[in-house]
Every structure is written in C-alpha cells, then in structure tokens.
Symmetry: C2
Subunit: 712 residues, 2 copies
C-alpha cells in the first residue's frame, strides 16, 4: 500500500476496503456494499477515458471524464463542449500507456504530476464541492478507497498548471440542453437556461450547487448541510441535529405535548435497554425488528453475562410494568408517552431524517378497558399527526389504514398519514398510530388484565386493549423535501425559529456614521417591536458581511420573511419585505408593521400548504386499468386503485410494477409499488360497486380505493 500512501499524501481517507477483484461496475458495488467497513451512504466514481481523433504522427491527448456512477455521459457532447475532436473509448493499450492500469482499475488517483498535463480531464461539478463519500479504485480493482468529493477535487487540483487546467462540467445539464434541443420550455428558454447553468456552476446566487430536479438526493443533503440543519457523523447512519433543525422538533414537541396532555396522556421515561428474554417475548413483533437490533455485550473490559438490546421501540420495555401497574379497571385507561431516541441498525442506505440508525421520536403507549375506547384514541392521535404535518409543517398528508402486509408487526391494525415527495413521485409514511388489540396483553404475552367490572361473579378477566403511536424527526425531512428549492431551505413560519430577519441595506463606504447608526438602530427597533407581538424576529447587524451575503445566507436557511431597511426606506418610514417562498417583494409601512407582518406570515403559511396540497392532489391518479399503473408511477404519481385487499395481490403488484431490468434498490425510481394506505376518505373517487368494480391487478372484487406508489 505504500505506493498508495505516496499518492494520497496528506489526504486521510474515510475508509479503505479490500475485496475480490471486480470486472464490472455492478460487481464492484456489490463487493463494497458487502463489506461492513464501507461507509454508508456512499457513491462510486466512474472514470471514462476517450481517445480524440488524432493525426497518426501526433500523440493522442486522452479525454478523462470523472463522474458519479449514476450520471449518464454523452462523450461526444462533452468533447464538443470542451473543444475536443470526436472521441471514442480508449483502448486497453492506451490506458496502460498513460496510467499503467486496466479499465477495471481506473481511478482519479491514476492521475499524477507526470500524466495530468498530457490529458484533458473533466470532473462532474456535483463532486467538486460535495461532502458525499465517494468510492474510487485504489489503483487496483480489488481495493476501494473512500474520499469526499472535495478531497477528490483537491487531489486533482494539485496537478493544475498553466497548460493543464482541471475543468468541471454538469453532464446532466448538457444532456438536458440537448434533449430539449435548447427549445423553449418555460423554464428552459435559452437565456433562462444559461442562467440556470450558471447557477449550477456555483455562482453566488445559488446556494445549493445541485439542482433539486437534477439530483434530488444530492440536493437534499446539500440543503440540510448548508442550512446548518444537520451534519454528517463519523458513525454511519447517525447524524447531528443542529439547532436549526432541533428547534423545529422542540416546537413540535411543545404543540404535541399540550394536545396529548389535554387527552390525559402523561410523559414518562423508560430505560433504553431491554433484556433479550423480554425483547423476544412477542415473536411476530420482534421478528419485525430483530435484524436491526443493536446489542450491548461489553461494559468496560468485562463481557456481559447476557447481551442487552437497545430498544428499537418500547412495547416490550414497558408492558411488563403495565401488567404490574394495572390491577383494576380503575387503573384504566393508562396513557403514557415518552420522547426518546430509538436505534434500528438499518443496513440499507441511510438518509438523514428519513432512515437513520438512531432517531428521535415520541412513542405513546396506552391501555384501555374496551376496544371502542382504543379505536377512538387511535384516530384522535392520528388526527394530531395530520395537524403536525398540515398545520405546522404545511405538508399535506392522506390519513388511512395500512394493508395487512404493511401494518405494525404484532399489532391489530395500523393507521397512518401518508405524505408525498413530488420531485421523486414517491410516497412516504408520515407517522403511524397502531391499535395493538389484545395481542400484547394476552396471558401468554404480557398478561395485562383487570377483573371484568361487568362480570357479577368478579371472576371474569378482561385483557386490556392497547395502542401505540409514534411521530419521529422524519417529519423534518419530509418538510424539507416538500418546500425546499434551489436556493435552499424554505421554512413554514409556524416552525421557523427565526420567522423574520431584518437586514440593513444601502450602507456604503460613503455612508456617514450617523446614517449607518440610524439604519442599524431602526433594524434593531423593528425586530424588537415584532418580538413584542410574538414574532420571532432577528436583526442581522453582522459587520463585514454584504447585504447580498446575508440575503443568501438567510435564504439558504429558509427564513420565511426578510425585511430590508435602507436610507430611502428610513426616509419613507417603510421596509421592503421579501417572501422566501415566492420571492415576492413589497414595501410595508412601519406604522402598522406589528399587524401586517403577523398577517403576512400566516398568509405565507397558508400559501405554502395550499401549493403543496394542490401538487399532491394533482399527483394522485384514479386508475382502473392495470396497463395504466406503471406508466402513471413512472410519471411520478401515486395511483389510487379499487383494490381487492389481498396480500398475494399486493406482492404481485410490487413485483409487476418494478422494472426487473434495474437493480432493486429501495431508493431507485424503478422500485416496485407498495400499498401506501387505504384512505379513510373514499369519497374523492368513483364509488366502488360491490361485485362489479374489479381489482385492476388481479380481477377479483374490489373492496376499497387504495393508494399504491413507489415509496421511501
């Protein structure tokens, strides 16, 4: 490895993984994914080398294209853009000659002082400023080294010289240019287009560097990181919730706590550890979790007698004590909730907020004397979840019940609020409220019963009816995906920890001290008077930053409303308001600012929800013929079909709606469709005629309209 060390120099790789030699991209990915030492998430880097048309006499100058594995490359277009003559894929000889590597070992690390200047090297823009971890061949097809995009870019930049510069390009954008033939899509008129490319090239006015429409996953993580919501952590699948996102969670906690307290729910805290014996008490339940359970086996230097699990959820932690505490029907209902973190050691690619190994949530666990009581609470809680999404986060959801296949393991039935991510056209489970029935209270399970008050003999036992319900920090991820744009985050006012930022403008070198002070004071006063009426306002009086920088900074962070105050505004006793969601600017007189701003914030909140709702509704398609299902999914929609509600049929639908051709990565747009939920509100679709309306998938009698979609 010493040769590699020389190559890397000061660069510290995230990880180095050895594996069998691989001779195809697919084999390569498989090999590294198999190794637990591989950091997750990661992407692979492909290096394509082309030989330009070259006079016999001359030595060819290869075109080296460094791109993310998923990026489609049109080599001739790239060549054209770089002014390189028409190209074809380089021969093994050429590769050996230039890099002393075969095509299966090609890597950016093959470039060095001596050969860089003899090539035309171009790297995908998205890589250059990215914290994403990329795998590249470690000068061999049997070893992979993981570096951040920035590090790869830094490594290559070292070799730049006057006669050899490292260029970066957005290959997708070039593709788009061509596909649209530069034609006038509203958002792709040539001028417009140029501006957009400029953005991608990283000019100031774009915060994010990756376009939402082009590389959603890259955009998403960039937004989170650049908005200071989250940072990556050196334990894979775990993330740091920075104040900008945690404050959203605190607002949700306060709101939800008030609501459940009114329902008689009390907060408590149960231990994070659970013994294997107890954990495995409820078989169906634990089967759902056991592959993901993290086990503590050692303390200090001593091995534990018995490994102890970290809770993946707390049913089995709590219910032995429910059995102890519930002695009489007078002890019912018992309603406890806790705000805690749980651990599910996912081996799928983690995604911030959506799929993480440790996550924050609340879990409510209640016990009732009768089923009707339990049923009522399940729905009452679900409606609180709907309101968290719709009233706080301005994210529309569809409440319904899960299919048997998708319900909570060990429960009786599961209700859910289902969200939707328009950019990918995929559904996402928002939060779930489960009725566990008597499955956990049964004698052979946790044996939670009371004397049946109805039974005169006093001998009869009633096993309690239980619910559990949970809402996690996932809500934050869904909100970001729904509202964010290419400038960054867009926060609905109600969950923004800063709702209004006041920025002093028009202060130049020529501005006198007095005028400068007057403007700053006015900004301060404005913020203060807004705070007095309960608006979370902040005056950004930081020295040494231009207004432009501040605008961009707060836009990235999604502050709903910006108020600018310059000399002219001061004179007119007004401020220029700029909406983050629409960019709409309008002057506001300072006189009635304490009424107009709160109103404007409520308008923004309402508009954001309305737009998101319209989008969601427009993407839920009523489908009655199978042949329309896949095209509709491919069209980034979810389908509502009159469904037979049979599990075999659900499996079949998933099978037939996936594109077998492509890898079955859950995150791939090609994944098969799952049932999302059976909406409670069936009225929006053509009434089902019993016996007449058939399930488009299997032809059996349809029962209820059910949403199917690709999903997170």
């Amino acid at each position: 490895m010493s040769s590699l060390d020389n190559v890397l120099g000061s660069i510290k790789p995230v990880a180095i993984v050895s594996h069998e030699a691989t001779n195809s991209p697919a084999a390569w990915r498989e090999a590294v994914e198999a190794d637990p030492a591989t950091p997750k998430p990661f992407e692979l880097i492909k290096v394509l080398v082309y030989k330009p048309k070259t006079a016999k006499s001359a030595t060819p100058q290869p075109l080296v294209i460094i791109a993310r594995e998923g990026t489609e490359i049109n080599a001739n277009l790239v060549a054209k853009k770089l002014g390189v003559k028409e190209v074809r894929l380089a021969s093994e000889d050429l590769l050996t000659e230039f890099f002393s590597l075969d095509k299966n070992s090609l890597t950016p690390l093959a470039l060095n002082e001596s050969n860089f200047s003899k090539t035309t090297t171009v790297i995908e823009t998205a890589i250059t400023n990215s914290d994403t971890v990329y795998g590249v061949h470690a000068l061999s097809s049997s070893e992979t080294i993981f570096l951040s995009g920035k590090e790869i870019y830094a490594y290559l930049s070292r070799f730049e010289s006057q006669d050899a510069s490292l260029q970066d390009l957005n290959f997708e954008a070039i593709k788009v240019e061509v596909e649209t033939g530069g034609a006038a899509k509203p958002k792709a008129a040539p001028a417009e287009k140029a501006k957009e490319d400029a953005k991608i090239e990283g000019a100031v006015q774009i915060a994010i560097g990756i376009k939402k429409e082009v590389d959603f996953a890259g955009w998403y993580t960039n937004v989170l990181v650049k908005a200071d919501m989250l940072d990556y952590y050196n334990v894979s699948g775990c993330y740091i919730l920075r104040p900008w996102s945690y404050s959203i969670w605190e607002i949700i906690q306060d709101w939800f706590n008030a609501k459940i307290r009114a329902m008689g729910v009390q907060n408590a805290y149960f231990p994070m550890f659970v013994s294997s014996k107890v954990l495995e008490r409820e078989k169906d339940h634990i089967e759902g979790f056991s592959p993901e359970v993290a086990w503590v086996t050692r303390a200090g230097n001593s091995e534990l007698e018995e490994p102890i699990a970290i809770r993946p959820t707390s049913e089995t932690v709590m219910y032995p004590y429910y059995a102890k505490w519930i002695k009489s029907h007078r002890d019912l209902p018992l309603k406890l909730n806790q705000w805690n973190s749980v651990v599910r050691w996912e081996f799928k690619n983690p995604q911030p907020f959506l799929r993480t190994r440790e996550f924050l949530w609340q879990e409510g666990h209640t016990a009732h004397l009768t089923k009707p009581e339990a049923d009522a609470e399940v729905r009452e809680i679900l409606d609180l979840y709907r309101r968290v999404y719709e009233e706080l986060l301005a994210v529309p959801v569809i409440p319904g019940v899960k299919s048997e296949k998708e319900k909570f393991a060990g429960g009786l039935y599961t209700t859910t609020v289902e969200g939707f991510v328009p950019t990918t056209g995929r559904g996402i489970q928002g939060a779930t409220s489960h009725c566990l029935g008597q499955n956990f209270s049964r004698p052979e399970m946790f044996n939670i019963f009371v004397e049946d008050p109805a039974d005169p003999t006093g001998q009869g036992k009633t096993y309690v009816w239980q619910n559990s319900w949970g809402l996690s920090t996932r809500v934050i991820g869904v909100m970001v995906m729904t509202h964010g744009d290419n400038q960054g985050l867009v926060l609905p006012p109600r969950i923004a920890c800063i709702q209004v930022v006041v920025v002093p403008c028009g202060i130049t070198a020529k501005t006198g001290e007095e005028a400068r002070k007057a403007i700053n004071d006015m900004c301060e006063q404005l913020a203060e008077s807004l705070k007095k009426v309960g608006v979370k306002a902040k005056a950004d009086l930081r020295e040494g930053y231009t207004p432009g920088f501040k605008f961009n900074d707060w836009e990235q962070k999604g502050v709903p409303l910006r108020l600018e105050i310059g000399p002219a505004d001061l004179a007119k006793q007004q401020t220029l308001s700029v909406r983050r969601d629409t960019g709409v600017k309008s002057p506001l007189p300072l006189g009635d600012i304490t009424t107009t701003v709160p109103q404007l914030l409520e308008t923004i909140q309402a508009d954001m929800f309305r737009r998101a709702k319209e989008m969601y509704d427009s993407r839920v398609k009523e489908i009655t013929r199978w042949e329309d299902v896949v095209p509709t999914l491919d069209d980034k929609c979810v389908v509502a079909i009159p469904w037979c509600e049979e599990e075999a049929c659900e499996d079949d639908i998933k099978e037939r709606s996936g594109r077998a051709a492509e890898p079955q990565d859950e995150r791939a747009p090609s994944a098969g469709a799952k049932s999302l939920c059976i909406p409670f509100d069936q009225s929006r679709w053509t009434p089902i005629e019993p016996g007449k309306t058939k399930c488009p998938a299997c032809g059996k009698d349809a029962k209820r309209w059910t949403l199917f979609g690709r999903s997170y």
Copy 2:
C-alpha cells in the same frame, strides 16, 4: 437442584448463583458480588439459631432469627421480647438435628412444614413487605438464591399454624429502646415510641413501612416506589421514571431552557454512539470513564467491524464538529446544550437517581475566544444550578470549586454545588460546571482554533476556551432525601405537578344524593377556580375510596396542600387546608381562596427551604484540630477545615477518616471523607492567616476553608 425446586414450589427466584463454598458472611458476600449474574442491588440474609434454656428432659425449641446481614441482633433482647428463656447460640449438632445444615448454609429455606412448628421463628419487619432483592443460601453454602423480601415472607408464612406463628420484629427499634433505656428523648417518649413502633408494624397511618431514621436506604426506595415516582427495572441499574417524577424533570427543563436561551445557548442533539477511536482521543478524560463504557458489538446477527461506545458524556462526540464549525472568531462563542441520556455502567451498588447506569441530564458544551469569557459562563451556569436546587427544589447547596483530585477528568477546573443529606450526614455532589480550558482544543486533541483577531499578521492561532456543564435527574433523589418523611414524599410546591388536592369529606351512607353532589361540585369548582389562577389543583372525586385512603394516598405522593370540604365547610363557605410539610390545619374562607392558596403555597416553599437550610448550616462544623474530624463526621456532620489543598493530604484524610475495621463500601457510614468543595464564600469561617493557620491534617500552611465529608 430438584430438592430446591420442591422447596421453592411456585416461587420464581430473581436469580440463582453458584460459587465456591463460603465459611463466613464476608466470604459469602465476596463470592456473590464477584458473579455478574448476581442482581444488583441486593442484600444478604443472615439466619441465627439460638437454643433457649431448656430442661434436660425436654426437647429445646430453637429461636430462629432471620435478619438482614447488616442488622445488629441482641439475641437476649429478642428472646425477652418473645418471652423465650435466655438463649445461647445453637450447637452444630442442634442445627444438623433440626435443619440438616451446617451454620454456613443456614437459610430461611431450611424451614419447612415439619420443622417450622418446632421453632420460634422471627423475621425482621423491614424484610416482610420489601421489594428489595435478598440473597439466601440455597440449602448449601456454595449456592445463593435471590428472592424479594415479600417472597421470603410469603414462603415462611405458608408454614404458620395455630400453634406456630411467624412473628416479625424491628430489631433496630428494640436496640434503640434499650440504648435510650426507654428514656424520654423528645421523639422517643414511651407513648410516642409505642406509636412509632406501631407505625413500623405497618398500621395504615404509616405509608412507608420503614422509618427514615432507622433504615434510610430502605425508606428511600420505598418512598420512591410508593409515591409512584419510580419503578425497578429488570436491567440492573436502570429504573423507570414514572410521570410523578418525570413531571418534576419537565418543570426543571422548562425553567432551565428559558434561562440558558437568554444566555444565547441553543439546544441540539448529537448521536448516542461514539467510535472507539474518537472516544479515546482525550486520554485523561477517557481514563475517567473507560471502565464504565458500554459497548455495542453486534447488530442483528452481524458482528460490527469495530465496537461502538454509548456516550458516557459527549465531549468527544461533539468536539470534532466544533473544530469543523468554528472557522473564525465570528463563530464564537459557540454555545450548545442537549437533553439526553448517558450510560455509565457502574459496578458499584446502584441507587435510584443517585447512581444509575442510564441517566437523564442536560449537558452544555461551549467554546469561547478568551478565558475570562469562559470563566464568567462557568459561574453563571453554576448559579443557575444553585437556583434549581434552592428556588425550585427548596434544597440548600454550597457552591464552590472541586479539589484537583475531585475535578472533571481532562478539565482545567470544576465548580460544583454541594448538597447534604442530614439523615446520613453525607455530602452529595449536586451538579458541576467545568472549565475545560484549552485541554480539548489543543492541536494534538481536537484542534479547535481561530485566527487570533488580535494578531495583525493574521497568522496567529488562538485555541478556544471550552466549558461543559451538566445537571442530572439526581436532583430529584436529593430532593426526596431532603424533604421526605415517614408518611412519604414531600414536594415543594414549585415542582409539584399537583400542588393542591381537594378532597370531599363527611359523606356517609346517610348523606343524601343532593348533599353529596353539592360537596363534590364545590370541590370541582374550587379546583377549577384555583386552576384559573395558575395553581395546579385537582379534585379527587374517586368513588369507592374513603377520605382517609385519599389523604394517605396524596400524602405518600407528597402533594403540598390538601383542601377538605365537608358539609360543615360547605355551610360556612370555607375549606380546611392541611399542609403536607407541617401537617398544620387551618380553615380558609372560600371567598378569597384564589389569593390565599397561592400565598400559602409560596409560604410552604419558603418554609421548606428555610428548614433545610438551617439543618444544613447546623451540620457544617468549623474544625481546626484533627482529633475532632472523625467524631464530627461520625456525628453526621461535614467538616470545614483550613486546608493545605495538597492531593497527598486529601488521600491521607480519606484513609484516616475511614474505619479500617469495617468494609470499605462507598455507601457505608464508615467510608473515608472526601473533599466536597472549596466554598466560594469563605466568609462564614474564621479568616485564615497566611503562614499561621495550619492544615489540621498535615500541619502545612492552610490555603482555604474546605468542606470534607463522607459522601454519595
């Protein structure tokens, strides 16, 4: 073991542990403690058998005494109390004859149908209704079986018959009777005494069953369990925080969050996992924790490549990211806080709230440009901790700085608020605020620096000054120990989740429906009107419970004020108020109840603090001669000595103040004294004359008055 199975019948032991045969109580304890399978905490049961003076002709009827290992037994007194003739320790022959066991194997389980009636068996009262786990010999000196006190009592009760009853006695109480010669101590006048014993026998009016003065540890756990604050959990060292205690924590959280927000501290959440590499970065620091770190080594069925630690505290979790986020002095100060749980796998006996393997706390971590800034914050936070104790929990504390020996591992200096538990005379660390100096920011550590804004060249680096500070749920334990009494918990009004309970009284079978309703309605109205003025009031209208039961129930749970309403009160438009802290009763006119009750609650809060403060102050003794130190400690006081502040001297003091004769269990009253803190307020003691005043321990020059005491 089958013979043992027969003996146990339906009793399910907590654990059964095999070990080498032991021939002394000490050896026995050592053997079981060595075994990780031994449940913690546990106590051992000793069985003493005596032969009463018996006529040669008659068969002796042995006196069997079953007591906790720590209980001193005066056999003759016990005999006298039971009307058994004078006794002496039974011979091995007698033991074999009656129990076919040698003295090293004696156990309650040796009693059975056939021999019980031939003995006089007496069991210590504290065992009979206790959930404590006790170890008893499993019919052999090489096997120990763990049962709850209740189970042992249940086991023995089975053998009771008309001519053989199982008696229970409080051996300590008997001892007291004798020591005081029944003389008239204020609290031990014969009548009084009798009443108190009665309580101990478990009459209704005593909630707790164990007296605070007699068995503090037993009393403490009983209070917690009976007040529904806490329940034991089947993973040793972990406890369930039930709503009655968790609500106290929530009140503290709200108060503290408001205060630190005003200081510019933001809440965040960092992962609970930390890689071994990072954890071990700061050696001194980790040395302090590594023996207690819990390690995750397995997820599902796959072993992790590298074991991952669960945070014992988050310095090493956070600081790599502080290094990343802090790029310029403009990024300072950085002030983050998180509310989370941490894990320290203690192998000492755990105690609810005071020493648990998982506990809840807040940990603040801040970075500053200059030392003065950091110093100021350390003290500002410490004062907030003082106020949590004194203003919310009505628990007095003494703020000061820790000795070098007792400071936070890896830090620069540690400030602390030191509490005191009068019943045991032991000090307890309340909360700590550490200045870490630049120890964690150093280049070889986490390398957290900014360009020195003072340096004109812009080349100079300044390593940041860091603080960390934490307050844990321990505060709840200290509050319980301070205020609780033999009726149970006593809550200061400001942290009580129910401050006032309204109980309808004087409703009898003869009371007409109308009168009954009138009283209940009045109780409801009263509670409602109190709620309107912000008093946390509740009307206890539960059917089927007597007022007496309700009084006792709410007293156990420590509700600060009870308001009774009976027919007479109704007529007079008044209510009878009963203070939980003093028992003082006084009628309150309903007319101005919304002003009198809030005032009364504030009075209760103030009185509780004043009494606790007076007690603490009276137990801090100014000591200047070594010979007075140990007697003063034995007298349940802490000593203030003019100290040299040298570590060797501190070790020496601990050594010399422990009673070598007794086992060095941290919890034993005999443990050596540690330095608690060097109080900031030195003014309460005779001024130290530099060069003149000497350290009473080593004779060197004294520097500052320092508190030493036995401690938790």
